[in-house]
């Protein structure tokens, strides 16, 4: 694939703007709060877009297109049941405690509500996983641009890492958030032409549905049993595994996204952040699921894989990961090709920037300030944050090369992630809504939940004791096991240990927090109203594509 002058211009202008934003924000950074929390000053529509864009790393975007080419419309479950309900929940119910407690990070909330060991467990596992994610993101980028354009792997990785380093180093979280908004718009403008031109080519939605098998075009019908659908999962695992445990575990407790809401200018804006993000999230399948479904018909090797699946009942071994790059190549004329590639590049970079900003905050506040050098002045921690940014980027690059040599690390990453994230939502649910939950209960709940997830995977599923319809199905059920074990362990141990006095849990637990946030605001700005609208709209989408 060769690029024209227009394509190069688009890519260069993008680099220029990304660096320019970092440069102009530099002078606004005076304290560590400015650097790590944007001085809590950003309007809700911006943090709202950043809330979902931080999650739109390239692995997510490309992965979801690939998933849709493999499983069809079932992939939309990752949005409509796997994100929207959790986003509504964190905005309406949890944000008052995150933002209201003035915690600067998710691990810090855990320390305020529980104790040091619970915080340390979360902070350390989060910091390590975040850097790994960042490294995997970079690795994928190097591979894609090498395959598509023949750019050298090292060149793509180093150049984008240096750009990310510069804009995060100078502009901190604000810079990362601004670039996430820009990246989100780029994805919309860069990928919509694929959906539009693709749909024209296959003859519109009704023809697309006609030409694909039924279980590729319905959301819930094929979930009656695991044998009926390509994902190998039935409705119970989908609703409780993905829709409840994994989705709430990610959107409600992962600091990468929660940090965006903490940058809001007031509590109401913080509560509206995930709700505003939920609206574009709801229509996002238009930009990823639809192109994936189109790819099944227009990319020859996907088409023949489908044909052989229908004929023999066995899925051919096809690499779907390249679905999006192949579509970009297939549909976008010059100029727009540059825009599509820039959208990809942008999602790689902001995927990395999001991880690095979350890492530098957790490192500086929850590890460095807490255990290594407490009691220094603010300037010192601001400096440390910048150093952590440099370290985060360097470590990401190092991990990129580690991933290069240990290729299957990538397959294990999602798994590893779910070991830690799945039980976490049980801890937060009990911590925020049950004042009897104790510190020991929370800590041992988390440890046992994480161990249960690992034990379920290695000792039960891999050992062949239980059979699941697919790897994904095993992952969903593993998450359910981890959540239940954490939930029960926390409750049982809490009853045997002494709770904190009420006075120490004000603004941290539902029953001890004054409901002052229900102030006089217009209806359309009320979190509960926004949540109602987005949930209703999502329900309607589920019915339409039943």
């Amino acid at each position: 694939m060769t690029l024209s002058i227009f394509d190069y211009l688009v890519i260069l202008i993008y680099f220029g703007f990304v660096l320019g934003i970092g440069y102009f924000l530099k002078k606004a950074i005076k304290t560590s709060d400015d650097y790590f929390l944007s001085g809590r000053s950003i309007p809700a529509w911006i943090t709202g877009i950043a809330f979902i864009a931080a999650n739109l790393g390239a692995l997510e975007v490309m992965g979801m297109v690939a998933n849709s080419a493999k499983y069809g419309i079932l992939t939309a479950h990752f949005y409509w049941i796997g994100a929207i309900p959790a986003m509504a929940f964190v905005g309406v119910f949890m944000m008052p405690f995150y933002y209201g407690s003035k915690a600067r990070s998710v691990p810090e909330y855990l320390r305020l509500r529980f104790d040091e060991k619970t915080r340390a467990f979360n902070a350390i596992s989060f910091a390590v996983l975040t850097l790994l994610m960042s490294g995997i993101n970079m690795y994928a980028m190097g591979i894609i641009f090498n395959l598509l354009l023949g750019w050298s792997f090292h060149f793509s990785v180093i150049v984008s890492a240096v750009i990310v380093l510069l804009y995060v180093f100078f502009g901190g979280l604000t810079s990362s958030i601004y670039n996430e908004v820009l990246q989100f718009l780029l994805i919309v403008f860069g990928l919509f032409p694929i959906s539009y031109l693709g749909l024209r080519e296959v003859g519109g939605w009704s023809d697309l549905v006609k030409r694909l098998p039924e279980n590729f075009t319905h959301l819930w019908k094929p979930l009656s049993s695991a044998a009926n659908n390509p994902m190998g999962i039935e409705w119970f695992g989908m609703i409780f595994g993905l829709g409840f445990v994994l989705s709430f575990g990610y959107w409600c407790t992962d600091f990468l996204v929660v940090q965006r809401a903490l940058a809001s200018k007031d509590l109401n804006a913080a509560r509206r952040t995930p709700l505003i993000g939920a609206f574009p999230k709801m229509i996002f399948p238009l930009f990823v699921v639809l192109p994936g479904m189109i790819a099944i018909l227009v990319i020859p090797e996907f088409k023949s894989a489908l044909d052989s699946l229908l004929k023999t009942g066995h899925a051919a071994n096809v690499n779907y990961n390249m679905a999006l790059p192949l579509l970009i190549k297939h549909y976008l004329p010059r100029g727009l090709l540059g825009l599509g590639l820039t959208a990809l590049l942008a999602s790689f970079m902001s995927g990395m920037a999001g991880n690095v900003t979350a890492f530098n905050t957790v490192w500086t506040f929850d590890i460095y300030q807490s255990y290594i050098k407490p009691g220094k002045d603010d300037k010192h921690y601001l400096w440390m944050g910048k150093m952590a940014t440099v370290f985060g980027v360097l470590a990401s690059i190092a991990l990129t090369y580690i991933v290069m040599y240990f290729n299957n690390l990538m397959d294990y990453m999602q798994l590893l992630f779910s070991f830690f994230n799945a039980p976490l939502f049980a801890t937060f649910l009990l911590g925020m809504f049950w004042k009897r939950a104790t510190s020991d209960g929370a800590f041992w709940g988390l440890v046992s939940g994480t161990s249960a997830a690992a034990a379920h995977y290695f000792l039960i599923y891999k050992a062949g004791i239980i059979h699941y319809g697919s790897e994904m199905s095993a992952n969903f059920y593993g998450a359910i096991v981890a959540w239940v074990v954490c939930f029960l362990t926390t409750i049982i141990i809490s009853y045997f240990t002494k709770p904190k006095p009420d006075s120490e849990m004000v603004k941290l637990v539902y029953s001890l927090t004054p409901k002052e946030y229900k102030a006089n605001i217009p209806l359309y700005l009320k979190p509960s109203f926004l949540a109602g609208v987005v949930l209703l709209a999502t329900l309607i989408l589920n019915i339409i594509f039943w």
Partner: protein, 65 residues
């Protein structure tokens, strides 16, 4: 915050819109015939319009404050 985000977004899409529009003007006739219309031209103008709207919004908020 030091920088209103509407300014960089507005400038960025105005510039990109102009580039894509121009690339549409240079389209070969066969590319246009294949699609039935000049997609770059239309999409470029849409982005240009989006960029300009952002810039106008930036200027109005700036005047207010």
């Amino acid at each position: 915050m030091g920088l209103d985000i509407k300014l960089p977004i507005g400038l960025f899409f105005t510039l990109i819109g102009v580039i894509i529009t121009i690339s549409g003007l240079f389209h070969k006739q066969e590319v246009i015939d294949k699609l039935g219309f000049n997609f770059n031209l239309i999409w470029g103008l849409i982005m240009l319009a989006f960029g300009l709207i952002m810039l106008i919004m930036y200027l109005t908020t700036k005047r207010k404050s």
